[in-house]
Point group: C2
Chain length 234, copies 2
DNA sequence: GTTTAGCATTATGTATAACATAATGAGACT
DNA sequence: AGTCTCATTATGTTATACATAATGCTAAAC
């Protein structure tokens, strides 16, 4: 690179006041090691001690609230909460707003999760879970016969799997992804039409969970999802 | 259930004005099918046509901005943008703020992703990618010898894999998860100490990518990550 | 004629003041 | 002790004014 006239210019601070206050507040939370349930000063107090208007403080607090860092109640002020990282995200998870590429990618993401969580499943599944899964499939129609793709049963069955996996974050993530998945599934977004053949059934997956291994389950689930993969890869 | 006095009560609307305005704006975006780049009315216009104060409109717009739905520039007003669903999330992805359970779950989540993305990898990998992967491992120290866990090399290698997977959403997700993963890895959060043994090496994974199958890769990757799984399951 | 400097315009950013509203808790009353 | 009432308090909302920065027009300069 050749030196030029801009080399010695420093990056100047274009951040707004609200940005600074927001950063300040987050820093405050981290440094003071404030726990969940602790309350933070009132808007007016913050406004005074930071030397900015209440308007600015409010906007900064609003951001923290959207991040799920605080929960603000009337009169009581704002209290620290454990951030719900997906709660925020789910607000912008509107299929009508996301662009097509992102939609397709989210479709893929769900498939990735289902296959990858085998080890969590096997580590945490209980005999009671197996029984519940069997109950779920018992009420399913015979898909091998009528060849209809039942998204409802898919959701119930797979939702239970996420529950068994014992990872709340994963479960919430899934819960957010499913509507998108359904939307993409039903929209004309994927070129290939949906197949109606199921290679490994829900019953088959339960069998593996009961007697198999994570390794077997991954392959089983991959096979179970074959229809969806075909629509992506063709 | 026995009928009681609350049965006939309707759920009353506790949402704030800002909530309503926000919902209104989102609905506007969806119904009008506004594309990326379109501009929306000014704060004052919205304020007038919605019959609320500019403050309320501002707070609602701020929320949309945080969701990544709009980008607001001075003078020009707000323009629609394609929401970056993970960009928003990364703001609250501060290891110091997330509680321990969530941190551990995110740790798990990354492992799930790595194993589950095998099919995407095989579908989209090119000979050039293979070469680049080989270049990456070439500069790695011999982990079999000095038995040291090199998180830096892990990041480079696995980051490349996500790139190959050809899913931007997944890649961004991963990019957000990695610092958390690293943090959890180094913190005393996981009871079990880190092993320093690697069962399937990066070289081994490349071999599979070159000559194997998604099935083989899943198992290989699972084995490669054995150290981390051991720390979770023990 | 093109460029550039300057200025008016405009929409967002910030500040201030006032009032509305709802939750809280203290004190009075039974 | 219980509960009813009311003052208090902190957030929710409105209104207004000014600051600031981006935009585009206009006119001077070449």
């Amino acid at each position: 690179m050749t030196p030029n006239a801009t080399d010695s210019l420093i990056q100047l601070d274009t951040s707004s006041l609200v940005d600074k206050v927001e950063a300040n507040l987050v820093k405050l939370l981290v440094e003071r090691k404030l726990k969940v349930g602790d309350i933070i000063p009132t808007e007016l107090d913050l406004s005074r001690s930071l030397g900015v208007s209440r308007t600015v403080v409010r906007e900064a607090l609003l951001r923290l609230r959207m991040m799920g860092l605080i929960d603000t109640k009337k009169k009581k002020g704002s209290v620290i909460t454990s951030p719900d990282i997906f709660g925020i995200m789910s607000k912008s998870m509107n299929p009508h707003i996301l662009d097509q590429d992102t939609l397709r990618e989210i479709f893929e993401l769900r498939l990735v999760l289902e296959i990858g969580m085998a080890d969590l499943l096997f580590q945490r599944i209980t005999p009671k879970d197996i029984e519940e899964l069997k109950e779920i499939v018992k009420s399913e129609p015979d898909t091998a016969k009528d060849h209809i793709f039942h998204i409802d049963h898919e959701i119930i069955f797979h939702g239970k799997l996420y529950e068994i996996a014992g990872n709340e974050t994963l479960k919430r993530f899934q819960k957010m992804l499913l509507p998108i998945f359904d939307y993409v599934h039903n929209s004309g977004l994927l070129k290939k039409p949906a197949q109606i053949q199921k290679f490994v059934s829900h019953k088959g997956l339960i069998d593996i969970l009961e007697n198999g291994s994570p390794e077997l389950f991954r392959n089983g689930m991959r096979n179970h999802l074959e229809n969806h993969f075909l629509r992506i890869f063709g």
